[in-house]
């Protein structure tokens, strides 16, 4: 009896401290939802034989885990490649001096707009900010076509956005501030508040509320919109401001982490993520729009060519964010 | 009293619980092979005396000798409780509730093989008329039987001294009488010195060789039952009236 107990304990202690020492491997941290990122990484493993050890997190929790982990690990980075769902968080890391500047051949087909000017990050496959609405609750004529329509009385207390302190919503607001100027943006936010806008805990929560009919419509990302359509037949999607300032386009970004020695394997994955194959895979799995020109798109996926993008400088917008964050916090809390 | 005869000696013992002084410069000698009763009202420090003798409490001042060996001194235990060759019957008996009568008694037997232990335990238990209760748990026994088990357990290691802290307080007169008789007989059989603590002077008068009356941590009177009965000490007179 006692011996079995001891053996059992020994076994689980060994299990606890056993760690695979595989030299032909790399560590990836990604904030892109596991359902979509994992298949891409698995494919890379299969093609190259390089083992990918991933740490996943989710936008749903504002990626607290990964970002804070990267910051805390700064003095002895574990991570080789950081794959982010948006350029914003990458900008935070760039400011904290955690990234490594790298120019990839694979990125040649991608527009300069979607790259960091110092090459700390490179964008690929993009999502857009869109409006989703519940067709049972809004007639075609009533569907907002501009973000500025949302201050209209007829949508009072029936529009949802995610908490603008986090994630892509922050980025959206920062973009607005840089496009229409601080003063107009603040006026707009104040009238949103006056119109009792509903602040949800995340983009996923916005989706949920629209699908359930708690609100008429809400701002969210294309991947959430895509899921909403899969879940419910009565969801419509609108790219806002196509006649005005345009819709916000948010690329994924990939960066290398600054280390004593940045491995070749890391660069291989970097290149792989920027390849057309990856963009096609992501277009298929979550309707992301490829940034390489002329990629053959699966049916039903929009191309960047069909959308009027919001004209912003991604580098500057990330900087803008730091200026308005205090204001946004006050705005949320005052609700 | 001649110190050659005394097996336990407390010298200038004082003891506090935080700022409550319980024993005040107490000097006490216990005669060998006698039954000594320590008599006092509750809260007078009787239990504390037993605990000091047993080494469960460290004296704040003074010295304690057992068989002429210094076992405790100010703030120090020199000989640990298990080396003092004594048995202790606690006020609450302290039978281990999750062990059977057999296990309670065999628990401390060491350096013996299984059949030796069995013989030993059975021997003790039959002496106390508990043969039928080997596999019972303490709570399945009557109060008197529990006392017997506690005494049997204390005697299993053949101690020289038995310290008893009011173990019979809750018994009826008849059972009490029976156990007291046992105590006298085992004293003879085991060649024991017994220190017995109680607030019941009639019990003391019935079987004590010596009686020590204490109050508020000080000895009021000590000697034979006769001496106590004729004491002129106010407290003693008052105490044995009841």
């Amino acid at each position: 009896m006692n011996r079995t107990v001891l053996l059992f304990l020994l076994f689980i202690i060994m299990f606890a401290f056993s760690c695979e020492q595989n030299t032909n491997s790399i560590v990836v941290y990604t904030t892109v939802d596991q359902v979509f990122s994992e298949p891409v990484l698995k494919e890379f493993e299969k093609e190259t034989g390089i083992k990918v050890k991933a740490v996943y997190d989710t936008e749903e929790t504002k990626s607290t885990g990964i970002l804070n982990r990267l910051i805390a690990e700064k003095d002895n980075p574990q991570c080789d490649v950081f794959w982010s769902g948006d350029p914003l968080r990458t900008a935070v890391l760039k400011n904290k001096n955690i990234l490594y500047s790298y120019t990839s051949k694979a990125a040649e087909g991608i527009d300069m707009v979607f790259k960091d000017k110092d090459n700390y990050w490179t964008g690929f496959s993009a999502r857009a900010r869109v409006l989703i609405y519940n067709k049972d609750l809004l007639k075609d004529d009533d569907v907002p076509q501009s973000i500025f329509d949302l201050t209209d009385k007829k949508y009072k207390a029936k529009v949802a956005i995610a908490n603008p302190l986090f994630g892509t919503t922050t980025f959206h607001f920062a973009a607005l501030f840089s496009v229409i100027g601080d003063e107009r943006a603040k006026l707009f936010l104040d009238s949103l508040k006056a119109n009792d806008i509903v602040i949800a805990s995340s983009n996923g929560d916005v989706k949920r509320r629209v699908v359930k009919g708690e609100v008429y419509c809400g701002l969210t990302d294309t991947d959430d919109a895509n899921e909403a359509i899969k879940e419910s037949a009565n969801i419509g999607v609108v790219f806002l401001d196509q006649k005005g300032i345009g819709s916000l386009i948010m690329p994924n970004t990939v960066s290398l982490i600054k280390k004593a020695k940045v491995s070749d394997n890391a660069k291989k994955l970097f290149d792989y993520l920027l390849s057309e194959d990856t963009e096609i895979a992501l277009a298929k799995s979550c309707a992301q729009m490829p940034l390489h020109k002329g990629v053959k798109l699966p049916k039903g996926v929009l191309s960047l060519d069909n959308i009027k993008p919001m004209n912003i400088d991604y580098n500057k917008t990330a900087g803008k964010l730091e200026n308005i964050q205090g204001y946004l916090k006050a705005w949320v809390e005052d609700k | 009293m001649q110190s050659i005869m005394s097996i336990i000696k407390l010298k200038n013992i004082s003891h506090w619980y935080s700022d409550n002084r319980v024993l005040d410069n107490l000097n006490l000698e216990i005669e060998k092979n006698k039954i000594t009763y320590i008599l006092g009202s509750s809260g007078s420090g009787k239990t504390t005396i037993l605990r000091l003798i047993a080494g469960l409490e460290v004296p704040d001042k003074g010295e304690i000798y057992i068989q002429n060996i210094k076992v405790s001194e100010t703030n120090k235990i020199i000989v640990t409780p298990d080396k003092r060759q004594l048995g202790y019957i606690f006020q609450d008996l302290a039978l281990w509730p999750h062990l059977t009568v057999y296990e309670n008694i065999s628990f401390s037997l060491k350096n013996m093989n299984k059949s030796e232990i069995e013989g030993e335990v059975k021997g003790i238990l039959s002496l106390f008329g508990l043969d039928d209760y080997l596999q019972k748990f303490p709570h399945q026994l009557s109060g008197g039987q529990q006392q017997m088990v506690a005494i049997a357990r204390a005697l299993a290691l053949k101690p020289k001294i038995l310290l008893m802290d009011e173990p019979l307080a809750s018994l009826d007169v008849k059972s009490k009488r029976k156990i007291l008789d046992y105590i006298v007989s085992i004293k003879e059989k085991y060649d024991l010195t017994i220190v017995y603590v109680t607030h019941d002077h009639r019990e003391a008068f019935a079987i004590a060789d010596n009686i020590v009356v204490i109050n508020e941590g000080k000895i009021q009177e000590s000697g034979t039952a006769e001496k106590i009965k004729n004491s002129t000490n106010d407290f003693v007179k008052y105490f044995i009236e009841w």
Partner: protein, 515 residues
Amino acid sequence: MLYTIVLLPVLFLLVLPVLNIVVLTFFDSNLSESIASMSTDLFMLLLKSLAISGIVAFISTFIGIVLGFSLYKSDIKYRNVFRLLILIPLFISPYILAVAWKDISVLIFDIDTSLFKKTYSFIGMILVHSTIYSPLSILIIGSALSNISKQMEESALLIGGFKDMFFKILLPLIRPSIITSFVLILIFSISEFSVPAFLGIRVFTTEIFTQFSAFYNHNLAMLQSLLLIFICVFLLVSERKRISNSVFLSIGTRGKEVKLYSSRKIVIFSYIILSFTIVFTVFVPLSILVYQSFRTGTSKFMEALSLLLPTISDSTLLAILGSIISVFIGFVAAYYSEVLNKKLMNLMLLILFAIPSTIFGIALIKFYNNSILNFIYSSFGILIIGYVGKYSFISTKLIGNSIKQIPKSLEEAAVIQGIGFFKRIRKIIVPLVLPSIFASFIINFLFCFGDLGISIMVYPPGTEIMPIKVFTIMANAPESLTSSMALIVFLVTILLISLLFFIFKKIIAKYNVNY
């Protein structure tokens, strides 16, 4: 000796990392700036959080008393089944419970006006938290109730009626466990974060979270957490004071018999209240999960199963190892604190318990992420260290309350008879507190098995553990998949817990604990 052997690793592996970041925070150049930004608004927020969590603790403890009595003192059938069922809310994730309840209330009440929404959110948070934490209270209070010896109640019943006995004897006797339950739940509730975040309530923890994940301001978050830690420590220390002043009933030295009430009124009341609670906290949310999982057929459920199956064995082993160590450390800390009055380790564990998970995670990273300790940081070892640091205090608390009830004489009797220290522990103390050792093992297991806060900060790259996987998949998954995963987690947990119960029953029978 044993104390030192256990204390040293606790100090070096668990406390030092925290000390390290506290020191780093205080030597940071922006310290004064951070302090300046802690306005009065923050203190108001703290008060608000305290008020909400106070209500939660009050309600949960009240439920704990009523249901504890029904479960442990009334003569009902299928007691063990009820005991197991009532524990269930403890292992449904708070977030999922919040979502389920919100869905129901939207269906029933069709909440509309924003004023109502705001009050609703508060009520919602109190409701969800009370649901999750009541089982803890039931467990704590129930085990105290079952330690009261029959005579005490019966003698009171002879003099007064049931009511007198209940209020004048029973309640005062279990006062220590009532206080413990209140304080523990207050601390749990005030440091829980997912429910207020989901319901959009601004509380102290969401504020700390914002500093972390919107501003990446570790120093300010750290300072704010210190405030929270300070409050928790204050609460627990004053709890200790109150408890040590109150009577502590003891395990009978002459054996124990639990009085069970079999009057029709009490038994029927117990059945009703237990069934109601189980329907309300278990059946309703579960049916919603089942409905949402299978509404579109079984395919999503199968998908969830294939996603989660590979994670079960690692997660289970980790949680078991984590809780074995926690219980061991908890026992040692409790024994030395209660019997030998050495309280240092207790205090250390308390502080670790009060630290928000994210901060603890960062502390672990900063300490373990270097070339020397990398073998721990890159293995499951880091998770175990995280679990043990965060949850050992629960064991200390539960086992400590039990050890307090053992009369000192039981051990002293053994000392005099020359029984060595380890044999005393093994053969006397451990068997007597076995029920609370098991209770804390179960609770620790549940917390380790479901831990997200620390795990997400430190789980080794390339590994998969269940809560993380559920969480990272849940984000974008359709409702049916999310619900399926919640359902599977639930089923796996209940299976494991039943297994543990079964094993414990065997061990308890072997040790004759139900004397």
